[in-house]
């Protein structure tokens, strides 16, 4: 610790700061003086031209010696000093040379103005200007030069400084005294400013030291935070990986359980056995639905959801919803209605899968919480300021309603309004949360209005871009490989590429019941060979397989086809996370079935693609 109370490094730093600031000041003042000296040079020439332009000899004239003096003596004063400022700014020798030149400029100016008393003020102005250096030595240099000039002139030519030929010795003292008088104040001012600069440097050094400490702490904390973030990201990545694996690992056996249960139900069981098997199927379905919800939520929360933007037929979507929900409503004895109000366009651009999922969730929810009465879905057009259209979707029911104070809990994950152990309605409490997140990701907001005992209305509004030109025109036929004309068009040759024997057996069982012929391959590589050899009508492709997975196998297939033919490939996978369908389509597959595959879904899918593969009917 130093005498000033600051640590020694701070004091040392303060010295450096002071020296830097002082040098900066000296350099700045040097530059000012360089400008001033050049200005004075030009001013002296102007003064000489104004006061004594020409010397006369009768009627003849020549340039007055004062003009030459102003040009050449002025240059000898201004230019070397400027060169020093250029080459050695801030140096001690530079400012002392400037002091010398400035003092001699006073002498030159006084001389060429004929000793006018006004020009003597230049001396005092020069001293004040030199005080900008805050260096008392510079003031002494200039003062010494002025005093020496007076002394020499007083000795050899007194008239040039005192205005008279005979001068008393005290005149020199008087002139020097006035210089000292001014110097006293200027030097005091310079010392004071220097003292203040030292104090400021010390404070700045102290502040820098504090800042450095704070910055070091911030850096340390930042590193800790970065480490924590990395750990969190790694944990999140591991969680996603785990979920993806779990999705596959759980769905595969569930697929087997459901399919085998279904087979069991259709295998002539006793009534009691059939009821038990149906209970197994129902429990498995519920378990699978909850698992799907959890996986969907996980995907949404990780921000990995990518929305599709496709031409979407609202009427087709409505029909699908009606088909699914009507059956469920009727099973509970409820009326169900789906209305597309006038003005709703046939086609818009959006993500049909997500929109269908939201409406199905809300519809399912409405049916679940309605014991008597009805459930309705309405789609209406609302005014929009954009080029597209804005649609409002309402899912209404005459159910039990929701108390106002409980509505805040509706959209919280894993939260149910009736959390009691005796609650009547099942489910994981994720449906509404997923719906809300999906609506938000599509740019809307999900809202609810409800009256207890009367019913509830869940609604949301979404902005859609207009459908692409020709969206409602019939689509041209895909370049599909047509079914062999000789074959029975209802019987297809289906290649199942699947590594899991249970899944393989399930699919084979279903396909055989549907009347199709089955071929099989254990991984992507053998699958590609089988496609080449057997040329099946349709391929059901598992995604996760050893040797060559379904994605890579499909990519390779598309490369080999080179656009000349198109083998229909339908992904059948237990990867049930949101976005997996997009991955399959991106790999070149034509459609997607999620495991466990229901017989009805498989039949519908095959029927859809069989229709597309039929050769065009010749016109008669």
């Amino acid at each position: 610790m130093s005498a000033s109370g600051f640590p020694e490094p701070v004091v040392q730093r303060a010295k450096v700061l002071f020296a830097e600031e002082e040098t900066s000041l000296h350099r700045q003042t040097d530059r000012l003086f360089a400008g001033l000296l050049v200005f004075q040079w030009l001013a002296c020439i102007a003064v000489a031209l104004a006061f004594s332009p020409r010397a006369w000899q009768g009627t003849e004239s020549s340039v007055h010696p004062h003009v030459y003096a102003a040009i050449f003596v002025g240059a000898a004063l201004a230019l070397p000093a400027c060169a020093l400022v250029w080459k050695q700014p801030g140096c001690t020798s530079t400012r002392h040379a400037i002091a010398l030149c400035q003092a001699l400029f006073s002498a030159l100016l006084i001389h060429i103005t004929g000793g006018r008393i006004e020009s003597h003020f230049h001396i005092f102005g020069s001293l004040a200007f030199l005080a900008f250096y805050r260096d008392w030595r510079v003031l002494l240099s200039a003062s010494a030069i002025i005093a020496a000039d007076h002394a020499v002139r007083g000795l050899y030519w007194p008239a040039s400084v005192y205005g008279m030929s005979l001068v008393q010795p005290w005149r020199f003292v008087e002139h020097a005294g006035w210089i000292v008088f001014e110097d006293t104040f200027l030097i005091a001012s310079a010392l004071r400013a220097t003292h203040k600069l030292r104090a400021l440097s010390l404070h700045q050094a102290g502040a820098e030291a504090s800042q450095a400490r704070v910055e070091a702490q911030v850096q340390e904390r930042t590193l800790e935070l970065a480490r924590a973030r990395d750990q969190a990201l790694e944990a999140s990545r591991q969680k996603s990986e785990f979920l993806a694996n779990m999705s596959h690992e759980i769905r595969t056996p569930m697929n087997g359980i459901l399919a085998m249960t279904e087979s069991l139900i259709g295998s002539g069981l006793t009534r009691q056995q059939a009821e038990q098997a149906q209970t197994v199927r129902s429990c498995s379905s519920t378990l699978l639905a909850m698992l799907s919800d959890m996986l969907d939520l996980s995907k949404l929360e990780s921000g990995k959801l990518v929305l599709d933007e496709l031409d979407l037929n609202l009427f087709t979507l409505g029909e699908e919803l009606r088909h699914v929900l009507l059956a469920r409503a009727q099973a509970k004895g409820l009326a169900f209605e789906l209305k597309l109000l006038p003005g709703v366009p046939h086609y818009v651009r959006g993500d049909p899968l997500r929109l269908r999922q939201v409406l199905l969730n809300l519809g399912d929810n409405a049916i679940k919480f309605t014991e008597h009465g009805w459930v309705a879905i309405e789609i209406e057009l609302v005014p929009s300021h954009t080029a597209g259209c804005r649609l409002r979707f309402r899912v209404r029911d005459s159910g039990i309603g929701i108390q106002e104070e409980l509505r805040g809990h509706l959209f919280r994950a894993f939260s149910q309004l009736d959390a009691s152990s005796t609650r009547k309605h099942g489910g994981g409490g994720l449906g509404l949360v997923i719906s809300q997140r999906l609506v938000e990701s599509m740019g809307g907001q999900l809202g609810v209005e409800s009256t207890v005992g009367v019913g509830s209305t869940f609604w949301f509004e979404l902005e859609f871009k207009p459908a692409s030109a020709g969206a409602d025109e019939p689509k041209p036929a895909l370049p599909l490989r047509a079914i062999a004309p000789s074959a029975d068009p209802r019987r297809l040759r289906v290649l199942i590429v699947e590594d899991n024997p249970v899944n393989l057996r399930v699919l084979q069982s279903m396909l055989q019941r549907l009347g199709h012929t089955c071929l099989s391959a254990g991984n992507g590589e053998t699958g590609l060979a089988a496609i080449e050899l057997e040329q099946p009508d349709l391929v059901l492709m598992d995604c996760q397989m050893p040797v060559l997975d379904g994605y890579e196998a499909t990519r390779e297939l598309r490369r080999r086809e080179r656009g000349e033919r198109h083998q229909i490939v339908i992904a059948v996978t237990a990867n049930a996370l949101l976005g997996d369908r997009e991955d399959c389509l991106a790999a070149g597959m034509d459609d997607y079935l999620s495991k466990p595959v229901e017989a009805k879904s498989l039949a519908a899918m095959i029927e859809l693609w069989r229709a597309r593969m039929l050769p065009p009917v010749p016109s008669t």
């Binding site: 001699l104 001389h111 004929g114 040039s160 005192y162 008279m164 030929s165």
Partner: protein, 215 residues
């Protein structure tokens, strides 16, 4: 090559120091020579008048019969004229009404414009009690033997020449000087006052036959 110190200040290499010192010496010598030449030019007296001892009878300007008459010869374009007129004004403030003053501007025979309309005439006309004369071709100056602008001649009432010299202490330089002191002394009637002082200024316009004063 010279390096820099910790603050970026250039350091002078040892080998270059004699060169720098030599350059400084040359520079200071140039300044010394310049200022010395300037001082010498200012302080070097010019040609004094070859003035007649008595007032020339042929002079076209009048001499006062009751008081001394001061004749000042000026070149209207000489830069030193302003200093001389300033000194004359100071002198006349002390001897107002006791001294008759004739200012003679020597100009070219066909002078106009620049010669006749300038500050020298206006300044001279502004001094109270001063009469102005234009001496075309310099015949009056020749008559009085004046050769340098700023030449002052003081004649007594009886026509005797009392003083001949300049009233500035150097070329175009203001300030107390021996010329003014001598005139003051003559006006006070002091015996033994200086009768001549150096004169500083340009050469007057004179007839071609006249001597050629140097500037």
């Amino acid at each position: 090559m010279a390096g820099v110190d910790t603050l970026g200040m250039p350091l002078l290499a040892r080998g270059r120091r004699p060169l720098v010192l030599f350059a400084c010496a040359v520079w200071l010598s140039v300044l010394l020579v310049g200022f010395s030449a300037l001082a010498r030019h200012s302080a070097e007296p010019c040609l004094p008048a070859l003035a007649p001892e008595r007032w020339p009878a042929a002079a076209p300007i009048a001499r006062a019969a009751q008081q001394p008459t001061l004749v000042l010869f000026l070149h209207p374009l000489c830069p030193c004229t302003h200093a001389t007129l300033a000194e004359l004004e100071v002198l006349l403030q002390r001897w107002e009404g006791e001294l008759s003053v004739e200012t003679v501007f020597t100009v070219d025979t066909d002078a106009d414009g620049q010669w006749m309309e300038n500050d020298s005439f206006r300044e001279a006309a502004h001094i109270p009690g001063v009469r102005l004369s234009i001496d075309r071709g310099g015949r009056i100056a020749q008559l009085f033997g004046a050769r340098t602008s700023g030449q002052v001649l003081l004649y007594a009432a009886d026509g005797r020449r009392l003083f001949a010299g300049g009233i500035t202490l150097a070329r175009g330089h203001l300030g107390d000087n021996q010329g003014i002191e001598a005139l003051d002394a003559w006006m006070r009637g002091a015996s033994g006052a200086a009768s001549a002082t150096p004169v500083y200024g340009c050469g007057l316009v004179l007839p071609l036959t006249a001597g050629s004063p140097r500037e």
